[in-house]
Symmetry: none
Subunit: 185 residues, 4 copies
DNA sequence: TATGAATGAGCATTCATTCAT
DNA sequence: TATGAATGAATGCTCATTCAT
């Protein structure tokens, strides 16, 4: 039965991602269960509160981003690494707006709940930022929080205004252009 | 008696703005009434549904922005007009995040509900954009929707991440820098 | 509308007393509302939690008992006062078993929640006890807690075993006989 | 394999007794299974409903009491037999309040469900009572139901008020004193 | 056969909206 | 007309019981 449980766990996560993205995190938990094709009880066996389901999704996303940030930093030169990461981040945000809806709604609690992961993300973005600044490909008057806010916000608004993937990449390009050092502008 | 009604109308709008900004649009309507110092019944006499109260606030905000866009376009030269408008828009967004939260939450419905106003806003931003492009102070590969999305999103993320007014102006500067024509970069 | 509200408040209390006594405190709150002829929302306006409804009933009962204890102590001689109080207490307990069910279920929390009232009751029973001991009509090796336990327990078991008012008085008589000083036995 | 089943049956009964006594009969059946170290499925194989588990415990207890009543009646003189039985009953009740909680909660159904056992218990207590009355060591105006109610109730209240074993014995002494024939008082 | 995952009816509570005063 | 009490559908969550492994 572990196979079944595993399958249900994934079905629930997938259903939650989809439905949160479609209808926002305010959807009844019953709808999530229904979409996943399981009973509410099953959902609650896997995720003891609505918040925990929600957290599980956010954590999976952030973890993915953290890994990618690290990966790009190792494999690419500083300017390209930051650029690739930002576009990646944006693509993910554009596809599934719920991560950022979650980031928003969690508000102040967010920082304490995901403190470790957020710190880690900041840390990796900071590493990317520093390399890029040192390589002269990034202005030195913005911090890693600024960079994250710019991308999150851009994608979030794009997601809600019905912009498609191409639109989002255009917006991200503007942000990236704005991040060039003054000398280059 | 009409004076009283007018006063109540304004008290309700003000209370709703404040409390939506503080606690989000999910606050019970009773809290709004209480903050306004009126009974729920009175609130419902002025705004027949929660959504309508919500709409009234958004409309007031958008109208204000539209007026300013027009004003700046008339009084300033193209580059300054767009710059001033964007900073203004950002300032307002930073101070009261609820407008954009509202914009988000209203989601797809938003466009149909506020179609006229949104069109008008787009129209004015488009006018600002065209003048600026013609004056060579704005890249020509972004449209008015892009500009609005960039500012809304940036401010929204800033608002939720606890950024202060200065942080927001820094973020907006990055966006504005990114909007410079390629020649200048 | 205060008249209506008052009426509803009383209807709810009465319904809760009846239904708790009939079916135990585990009955759904909806049943209480239905029995009272009001909506659940109304019930919750008057009593913000199930526990608070429950508390309101217990408090009303305990307050009545406290007043009576005081009254008897002032009006009757020591032996009669304790006797009258115990029979009174028993009568009330026999009629409405829910008070003691409540006393039971509240368990450890009970003492803290009703601390003031319980202390007051204990205080009054202690006063009755002391007068009676001094008058030589009560054995001196039981404390006020013992007396309360004896009466509560007796009535409680009687209530659950279907004993009628006469049966209960007979049981109370046994307890009262057992409380006589050794010299008299 | 039958040995295993037997062992599980007993582990479940023991766990249920303990946990019901500690936390009341409202504990989830999963907790009982967990405490017994078996899966819920296994528990349900042995006891098809929660009520049946509950019944099994009550039956075991009542059977034990019936046996003791009989034993005392044979071995001791009338006054001592009743006295010993009552103290025994009380001790058991004081140690494990759940029997009487069960007696309470089962309410009206109780009599029909355990009719045979209750009758048997009554019958044995009646035998003890008659011998004692005939021997002049028990007042003749109480019936066996009264006696049972007095002890059950006393212990029940004691259990819920945090009284210790010594307190209970003191309370039982009062009841026993109250059961003396009038001539002796 | 033992396990524990799955089920879903049921419960306490909230809140947008209506309506008696 | 303003008030706030009343309403009840809807929500998150629990737990007795069933069933696939």
């Amino acid at each position: 039965m572990r196979a079944d449980a595993q399958r249900n766990h994934e079905k629930i996560l997938a259903a939650a991602e989809e439905i949160f993205a479609l209808d926002g995190v305010a959807v009844p938990i019953d709808s999530v269960a229904e979409r996943a094709g399981v009973g509410v009880g099953t959902l609650y066996r896997h995720f003891p509160t609505k918040e925990s389901l929600y957290e599980a999704i956010v954590i999976a996303r952030l973890s993915g981003l953290v890994e990618r940030a690290d990966d790009y930093r190792r494999r690419l030169d500083p300017a390209d690494a930051l650029d690739a990461f930002l576009r990646d981040f944006a693509r993910q945000a554009a596809e599934k707006q719920d991560l950022f809806e979650a980031l928003d709604q969690a508000g102040i609690d967010f920082k304490s709940r995901f403190a470790g992961l957020v710190d880690e993300l900041n840390h990796h973005v900071e590493a990317l930022r520093l390399s890029a600044v040192n390589a002269g490909s990034l202005r030195d008057d913005v911090n890693s929080g600024d960079i994250i806010n710019l991308i999150i916000g851009t994608c979030h608004a794009a997601g809600h205004s019905g912009a498609d993937g191409e639109d989002v990449q255009r917006l991200v390009s503007v942000v990236i252009a704005g991040l060039q050092p003054l000398a280059r502008r």
